[in-house]
Symmetry: C2
Subunit: 605 residues, 2 copies
Amino acid sequence: MQDCEREKSVGLVETRFVEFAPPGGIALDGGAVLETVTVAYETYGTLNVSRDNAVLVCHALSGDAHVAGYNSPEDEKPGWWDNMVGPGKGIDTDKYFVVCSNILGGCKGTTGPGSTNPATGEPYGLDFPVVTVSDMVRVQRELVRHLGLESLLAVVGGSLGGMQALTWAAEYPEVCRGAVLIATTHVAGAQQIAFDAVGRTAIQADPDFLGGDYYGTPGPRRGLAIARMMAHITYLSEVSMNQKFGRTFRNAEGPAFSLNNEFNVETYLGHKGKAFVNRFDANTYLYTTRAIDYFDASEGFPSLDASLSRVRGRVLVVSFTSDWLFSPQQSREMVFSLARAGGDVSYCNIRSDYGHDAFLLEVETLSRLISGFLDGVQYPDRDCDTCHRPCSQHRENPVEGTPGVRLFDRQHRVDYDMIVDLVEPGSRVLDIGCESGQLLCQLMRKRQVRAFGIELDEEQSVRCVESGITVIQADVQKDLSGLPDGSFDYVILSMTLQVLEHPEKALKELLRVGRKCIVSFPNFGHWSVRLKTFFRGQAPVTPHLPYQWYDTPNRHVLTIQDFRVFCRDLGIRIEREICLSGDGPVRVWPNVRADEALCLLSQGR
Amino acid sequence: MQDCEREKSVGLVETRFVEFAPPGGIALDGGAVLETVTVAYETYGTLNVSRDNAVLVCHALSGDAHVAGYNSPEDEKPGWWDNMVGPGKGIDTDKYFVVCSNILGGCKGTTGPGSTNPATGEPYGLDFPVVTVSDMVRVQRELVRHLGLESLLAVVGGSLGGMQALTWAAEYPEVCRGAVLIATTHVAGAQQIAFDAVGRTAIQADPDFLGGDYYGTPGPRRGLAIARMMAHITYLSEVSMNQKFGRTFRNAEGPAFSLNNEFNVETYLGHKGKAFVNRFDANTYLYTTRAIDYFDASEGFPSLDASLSRVRGRVLVVSFTSDWLFSPQQSREMVFSLARAGGDVSYCNIRSDYGHDAFLLEVETLSRLISGFLDGVQYPDRDCDTCHRPCSQHRENPVEGTPGVRLFDRQHRVDYDMIVDLVEPGSRVLDIGCESGQLLCQLMRKRQVRAFGIELDEEQSVRCVESGITVIQADVQKDLSGLPDGSFDYVILSMTLQVLEHPEKALKELLRVGRKCIVSFPNFGHWSVRLKTFFRGQAPVTPHLPYQWYDTPNRHVLTIQDFRVFCRDLGIRIEREICLSGDGPVRVWPNVRADEALCLLSQGR
């Protein structure tokens, strides 16, 4: 098993070190200047000739530069993200040149509080200046320059690593062509700061802390272990802890009625604390958690939107449903801010019980997302007919039908062709409920549009990202308010109006964010529907409306005539109305003869 | 302001002490025996002649016997639950005789690790035996006997106090007529145990802990403060912390780029930690959190249901939406287990941002719930026509209408009278979507039924409890699976079938939990509906179905004929079918002429 893992890895790798001593030193956000900074880093894969395939990985609180592979043949374990970085993996070292460095303030080779203070010849200890995430990124910028990289295909990171990636995207937009922000946030909230503060208090209250000058002594082992134990709880979810430990006792005989280590979860936490102490420096813990506390991507700007308007690269945000440290809600705030700022942002919220740790554990879905995203950034204009996976997906694996549309061949939906005809080339198009992006794919190919999708389903959203389509996994009925007025030329709502709880509210929102709106819906005014209702006194079941009254997903029953009155009352102009039956467009008596209607709408007032 | 508070309080009260030394001592769950136990307690109000108005309040981790009023004229603050216990308050000392005692293992007068060990003449320290919640309750049982109380109207508690109340209900069913379980759980989960373990580690890692023998010295002040700081985070919610502190800096000038106390939330937590150390004993913290860890109401029984089948009294469970320490989900598990065990259990989930602390802060709603519940336990057979608030509520304040029913006078709904006629006297009846309990109220008065309600809305559920009606705040589409087969004689679903997402699934569930089911629904086969659809090709708007297609809450459109076919296909027997129009019952051509149908159903197979 382990040999197999070893074979699939990047193999033996070396941590390298580089010292930067720019004229005037490296100025930090807090006002201090570091004359020289040493950076520990590793690289995997090969830089291509055009030097545009570099991916920078940023590590989280307890990580280091050693992402993948083995530093020596004796190593039992590979780097911390070996399941993601390697040949054929999510970040494919056969395609990309991957770089990772230990952060500023770290304890794994980059200058930090345990490094020698040139002014004294002793370790810095608490004389080390407080650093911010921007400071960490500033040092990484030096490394990127040193490696001769003019641009980064993407900066990828989870948790604190995601904060660095977001900082890269905002502060170095000319370098950062893509950013993958996983299980992270744009700002540390009060709860986060509070947990960090308790951890720091535990370290500093330890008598062995010695004011931070504990180098050469055992150091604040108990305090650091307590900090880690507490933090570790925040990395898991309640569900995963109950699954993993429940209330199982350490001794098979059951309770010993003792104050210490009765339950397996206690033993586990104690072990986690001890293991951490053996590999981590307490001062680095203080400085790094403080950097997290200070993190606020809106700082120095009137708003988050204003700050994130600096971003030029494409962004992928990924959260996990059970992550309560950096919650999906925080990710959504960041996503919609990026969208409002005009950015090209995709978002997926992955169902997982693993809590915050999911970013290291949900490898399969994350790999699909990241590899698809990196491809999309590298080949933004790839043609659907020539590219690899995405299009074969759309040709060969048509996805399950939209409710109400069973008449049409899913692979050649008539209404899709009609919609494509309605859209002006080169427009910005938002498709609501875009599924895996079939329609958007056609629009990109035939109309060269800038395509955006909103999709509620996780798997469909992941498929969009895999296909290089920009998608936000969101609920059109709740989240659309996050988008600004008139940000799209067309908003498409295909066969979905009748399943929404509040179609009126939804349509108003669509015509707020889009200049025009293309809506299609099933016509319940069709003669077969009317006849059944009138003569049989039963809710109608027809080939085009195949549902029973009790299993229909259609919350609302409307006719073409209803829709006309509705639009008139709301002051919406119907610019085009195309009525369709199984045989094609219907021009005479559409309200009686059409199965479906497709309307191009604009704000009438 | 403070004088005003003082006037509304129970005034000056005294903590009293009593020593119990039963023959053979008090045996503890862990096997140890305490020869003597001193209990500190307070009482408020007057025991009535029939000695049946006693309410026992159980305190949480950091509480004590001093619930209400002032121990001396100099006291600046009243007891810990003064806003709930007092004249005219939620637990009304004009009506009830209220008792509270400090828990076993405590540090506020009841025997605990700081008490003198009679074997040594020194404080127990860690020689004090580990205690459980059952042990705490066992000692309270001695106090209750000492006070000459043969029964308790109710045992009320939040958090650890709720665990004690549940234990009372299960272990002393002959004494405990009612239990109010607030923000609590039936079992400590792995996350709870983990947080407790970190707190204990912090205390025991403090060099001043001295193996627990720190009495007469400052003691583990730093360790206890760290434990309290961390625990305090779990008492708040992320939202409330952001509202209260956000990222505000302690210094108005902004960041000082320091490791310590930059943010207000840090200062606040530090203050909370210090304040706690001044009033609490670290050993008691160890023992009490361990008692919480051990708490599992199912212990010694094959299942929670089996354990809770011992409960005879009525139970009210209250949770808070933002409480993540003891989540609403944990409360629901307890509620449905009690229901399955045949118990009389009500449940409300109060919308609050305060997190776990809400149990001390959401005074208004809690007061309504607790006072209504206590009244209901004290006067279970009170007649609707003679009792105070509940009926006037139902007579004078008819609640907002059920969707689809606008034709009928809300105060004299024709279908209610019909339903009452269908129900056999003395049955067990479950009303789904019972609103504030109008129909159940009628059924109790006219048919002497045992009434149970399920209601999704918080305010309506609270009103039910205020009216003495047993209600579970739950979603019929998700939570009904928690109820056992055939647990009711009738299940009523009045004008709700058509708004459910899955009527088929719901109806099957109703006929699983009830022997018979009474269902009413609007008839979309009415002639006015058919005519509009057929000739105008528009979704119908009629006096009885006044909604537009886009704003209707009715997800499903069905006719009486549809429903007959539906029941036939599902093997459901329609024992009675009553069709109604605005003028009363319709016997001829009901599918064309009736606005509404009411059916008595039973399982046909």
